[in-house]
């Protein structure tokens, strides 16, 4: 197995172009598990830990651009106010040791339907910045996932960063697991309410072949919420929203939970996160 160690971003892109089957590795919390279990045996590993710019973050116009190599620990410590939904999701990733190493770039690279970052990125309307020696493109995360552990990323591309609105609305994230820490999601839900545009963003994790949006639920809520008065959300509206979120999921029965439970739990999470996000916006409880 070749071990490629580029020292800057240009070298990294060149290496990926020359070795399109190389598996990029940053925190290694996913890649190394697969290697240890002999589930994959890549021809080469592309070590991104020496690329200096990959763990930078800063504003880019109306957007916040966060390097793919920023760890969950730093998202929690440095960026909780700017990416509140993603920070909530970050707190549920693995153990403290895992959060010290694991990155959103790795989550996007694996593109698992259970990736904890994905629902929050979907709800926030994030862009994924993909780069190669051919150039750089920004793909809406809503178009990024194409199947279980598959994305639109081409073999010569690396994930450079992700971008979210610099001024977030009210964001919430909640995840159900069968123990109280260090657990893969049975299902998860993220919600974003933008008080200026009256846009609603949603994200569903671990309840379909890819991370999903609940578009019908989001459209319903965007149209019905009492944005101007900030009055209380009627119970019927919250219930309808929850039911639509549950219906948007495409879950299966597996060792972690049943499809019926996942739909049920998503409806509960949708109602609860709606109440919390609405309160965050100053809405009546």
């Amino acid at each position: 197995m070749e071990f490629l160690r580029p020292s800057d971003w240009a070298e990294a892109l060149a290496a990926k172009a020359a070795h399109p089957d190389a598996v990029p590795i940053a925190g290694g919390t996913d890649v190394m598990v697969d290697l240890n279990f002999d589930r994959s045996r890549p021809a080469a590993l592309l070590d991104l830990t020496r690329v200096p710019t990959l763990d930078d973050w800063g504003t880019d116009g109306d957007l916040l651009r966060i390097g793919a190599g920023v760890t969950y620990r730093r998202l929690i410590d440095e960026l909780a106010g700017r990416v509140p939904g993603l920070a909530l999701a970050s707190r549920t990733v693995g153990s403290p040791q895992i959060r010290n190493r694991a990155t959103v770039g790795g989550n996007l690279g694996s593109a698992s339907p259970a990736g904890d970052a994905h629902p929050a990125l979907l709800a926030a309307g994030a862009l994924v910045e993909l780069a190669s020696t051919r150039g750089t493109r920004r793909v809406p995360v809503t178009e990024y996932f194409v199947g279980p552990k598959r994305s639109v990323k081409t073999p010569d591309e690396l994930i450079a960063a992700f971008l979210v609105p610099a001024r977030p609305g009210a964001e919430q994230f909640a995840k159900v697991g069968t123990r109280n820490a260090m657990v893969i999601a049975v299902c998860s839900f993220a919600l974003s309410l933008d008080p200026e545009t009256h846009a609603v963003g949603t994200g569903i994790g671990s309840a379909g072949p890819t991370p999903l949006r609940a578009t019908e639920a989001a459209d319903f809520l965007a149209a019905e919420l009492p944005w101007e008065t900030r009055g209380p959300v009627p119970a019927a509206m919250a219930n309808r929203f929850g039911d639509l979120v549950g219906a948007a999921a495409r879950p299966i029965d597996d060792v972690r939970g049943s499809a019926d439970y996942r739909r049920h739990a998503l409806a509960v999470l949708a109602r609860r996160t709606l109440a919390w996000a609405w309160t965050d916006l100053g809405g009546a409880a």
Binding site: F37, D38, L88, R91, T92, Q172, F173, A174, K175, V176, G177, T178, R179, N180, A181, M182, V183, I184, V186, S188, V255, R256, G257, S258, D260, Y261, H264, A265, V268, L269, R272, W276
Partner: protein, 752 residues
């Protein structure tokens, strides 16, 4: 927090003190050498080919592909096993390597030794096994109806001669299920076999009972036992999972075949196939009582799935049957427990051993009875609590202390924990932000259990200790040598404490356990402090008698701080001087009081040595909409007779309670059609620090006059009653029946 009252001890780090573990710092700092850390020059690595099918004929095995891999030294199948082709703890039925058929997923079929573990694994993957797959039998009831019975233990006892009609004013019934729990030790099966010049083998291995391994390995190798020498390697947890053989014969075969040391280490996934698990069970119970809640009769039918081979199923069945009504006085008992063969993973020993499954059922029934007669759950238990002199369903009289009522009162009278503070870590769902109080309901539940200590049913249960008193560097020093396995429980500490107390010598070394001394029996059945502690004490007493005889006086003398002291406190001699005549060494084989077999028709007989009791109170917060549970606090009270090492006792109580909590809310090997679906720590979940709450521990010391220092086995009772206590608390919070463990979120959230 724990409370413990006892008399002061005069010997530093002696019996009754929390003497520190000799291996404690090494383990905490990561320097302790576990069996997976063993190394020998020129050693090879073994790998195992396992069946992917729960049931199949083995038509042919083609090893040519594996032999062609450079670096491979040997590929072995059943034909290469020189001695007995099968082994087993109680019944010799499990093939060393598959003979013509496989009966469970993961059954070993072939072995490879190579100069690198990766090479061995790759070569193993090139072995072609031709299977004719059969439909597996996976339903225990179907197995029972087919006659695939391991053992049926009836325990029938009637209040009046001729049998009673089972009638009572109040009758409650229930059917309960217990899922397959794994011991989930952290140190996977591993060891190193080194071929010896005399044609034998030296085997360094993590195990629970060196001599029973030695006997089985020697038989399979076709060697006399003295040519198979075992030495205990660092054990990373056991909990029953190391009672059966795993890689012992395999590594020895490869070592003798290649003439080189062979190391084998299972990976985490392989480990789930490499040891037996806790028996899944289905338990049908009927309790009859009078209107005050006093039990009149208990009728039960218990079916335990033993899986593909016998392992220790016969003893597990006997425990479930004989302990099947719990620590209660029950005039009439009709319990029938069955163990069956299926094509599911083999099940055998795990902490609690048959008593765990029964306790979940009978304690659930006691709560039902309490509800039926309208008293609180603790009260109905206290009205039926057994005491010293009570008669077990086997007819055995409980001779030692049985403070059941007191243990229940202790956990009931503990102050309840305060309401949650709002810290997200205290919520059901933990930091995953699933609730901020919505739908969270608190519940409190109680349970108490009973466990037999030591081996039962007439088994010749003994332990051997060799104790040598000598002078080292001008000071008296003691060497304690036994074959008892230190599996993390602290036996190595306890042996030294006993020697210090008995011989008045502070400098004590406990030799590594091996088979050059007589058997100590297994580190199981909560028996080692009782048995090997008893053997070490007896050997020390023999050493003391010999050395005091050298003084040549007839009055009472004692050993204090390396000196011989008369009853008036005057120093008569120094040990160093007395030992000038030579070292003193004694070897003692020590037995507990004999037990009797159970009558095969009625289950009557004095089958057990000692009974141990623990009570738990669990407080839980349940998110009733999502079905998520946070155990807020567990209070427990346990009678340990004598806390030989109080810190170790509390450690056992906390660890055992955590294991019972795991069974209550998360731990299950999910088996579908004989296939394990979650053989990983990603999907076989065990409690984390956010799942296991603070504990309030009361340790009682009601000495048992039959036991060394009055002690009572400690390891298993905490695991037994914590499961039903947690489930009772969830029931109290939800109002649901919850008849199966582990309770999963959908059992709560989607309950009809």
């Amino acid at each position: 927090m724990s409370t413990l009252t006892r008399e002061p001890t005069t010997v530093a780090d002696g019996v009754g003190t929390s003497a520190p573990r000799p291996d404690g710092i090494l383990k905490v700092s990561g320097e302790f050498a576990y069996s997976s850390d063993l190394w020998a020059d020129e050693m090879l690595w073994g790998a195992t080919v396992r069946s992917p099918h729960p049931s199949a004929e083995v038509r042919a095995i083609d090893i040519t592909g594996a032999l062609a891999v450079p670096g491979v030294y040997a590929v072995l199948t059943a034909d290469d096993v020189p001695g007995a082709k099968r082994y087993g703890l109680e019944v010799v039925d499990q093939p060393v390597l598959a003979v013509d058929e496989v009966r469970y997923e993961g059954e070993p079929v072939a072995l490879v030794a190579a100069d690198h573990p990766e090479t061995a694994r790759r070569a193993a993957a090139r072995i072609k096994v031709e299977y004719a797959v059969r439909a597996p039998v996976t339903d225990p009831e179907e197995a029972l109806s087919r006659g695939d019975l391991v053992r049926h233990v009836p325990v029938h006892r009637f209040a009046s001669a001729g049998g009673d009609a089972l009638t009572a004013d109040v009758v409650v019934t229930g059917t309960y299920e217990v899922g397959m729990q794994d011991q989930a030790f952290l140190g996977p099966e591993s060891g190193l076999a080194v071929p010896a010049e005399d044609g034998g083998v030296d085997l360094f291995v993590a195990t629970q009972w060196l001599h029973v391994d030695q006997k089985q390995v020697a038989a399979c190798l076709g060697l006399p036992p003295e040519l198979v020498r075992l030495r205990l390697a660092g054990v990373g947890g056991a909990f029953g999972a190391r009672e059966d053989l795993s890689m012992q014969v395999h590594a020895s075969l490869l070592a003798l075949h290649t003439g080189k040391p062979v190391k084998m280490v299972y990976g985490r996934e392989e480990s789930f196939f490499g040891h037996v698990h806790r028996h899944p069970a289905r338990l049908e119970y009927e309790h009859g009582a009078d209107r005050s809640g006093k039990l009149v009769y208990v009728k039960a039918r218990i079916v335990l799935d033993g899986g593909a081979y016998t392992s220790s199923t016969p003893a597990v069945v006997a425990n479930a049957a004989t302990l099947g009504v719990g620590p209660y006085d029950v005039p009439t008992v009709v319990v029938d427990a069955y163990g069956v063969y299926t094509n599911n993973p083999p099940c055998g020993a795990m902490r609690g051993f048959g008593a765990v499954q029964a306790c979940f059922a009978y304690e659930s029934q006691m709560d039902k009875l309490a509800a039926a007669i309208g008293v609180d759950p603790v009260e109905v238990r206290r009205r039926n609590a057994m005491t010293t002199g009570s008669v077990m369903p086997t007819g055995q009289i409980v001779s030692g202390p049985a403070p059941v009522d007191e243990l229940l009162a202790l956990v009931r009278d503990r102050p309840l924990p305060p309401a949650a503070t709002g810290d997200p870590r205290e919520r059901p769902g933990g930091v995953a932000n699933t609730t901020r109080g919505e739908a969270v309901v608190r519940g409190v539940g109680y349970a108490i259990g009973i466990k037999n200590v030591c081996f039962s049913e007439g088994f010749d249960d003994f332990s051997t200790a060799r104790v040598r008193l000598s002078v080292l560097g001008g000071e008296p020093a003691v060497l304690v040598h036994t074959a008892a396995a230190e599996v993390g429980q602290g036996l190595v500490t306890v042996q030294a404490q006993i020697a210090r107390t008995e011989l008045g010598v502070s400098r004590v070394t406990v030799a590594t356990a091996d088979t050059s001394v007589g058997s100590a029996g297994s580190s199981s059945a909560s028996r080692q402090t009782y048995m090997t502690g008893g053997a070490v004490r007896a050997a020390c007493q023999a050493v003391r008698a010999t050395v005091l005889a050298r003084v040549g006086r007839t009055d009472a003398l004692s050993l204090v701080d390396g000196k011989v002291v008369a009853s008036d406190g005057s120093v008569v001699a120094s040990l160093v001087d007395l030992l000038g005549e030579g070292d003193v060494e004694e070897i003692v084989e020590w037995r507990h009081k004999p037990t009797r077999p159970l009558d095969p028709e009625t289950g009557q007989g004095d089958a057990h040595v000692q009974y141990a009791f623990a009570a738990h109170r669990a407080v839980v917060d349940v998110d009733t909409e999502l079905g998520l549970v946070r155990v807020v606090e567990i209070a427990t009270a346990q009678d340990v007779g004598k806390a030989v090492n109080p810190q170790a006792v509390v450690g056992q109580i906390q660890g055992g309670t955590a294991q019972g909590l795991g069974l209550a809310v998360m731990e299950e090997i999910q088996v579908v059609d004989g296939v394990i679906r979650n053989p990983s720590f990603t999907d076989y979940l065990i409690p984390t620090i956010l799942d296991m709450p603070p504990m309030e521990v009361d340790v009682l010391e009601r000495g048992d006059p039959d036991a060394p220092y009055g002690l009572r086995g400690v390891g298993e009772p905490p695991t037994i009653s914590s499961t039903p206590a947690v489930v009772a608390a969830i029931r109290a919070a939800t109002g649901l029946a919850l008849t199966r463990v582990p309770v999963r979120p959908d059992h709560i959230a989607l309950a009809p």
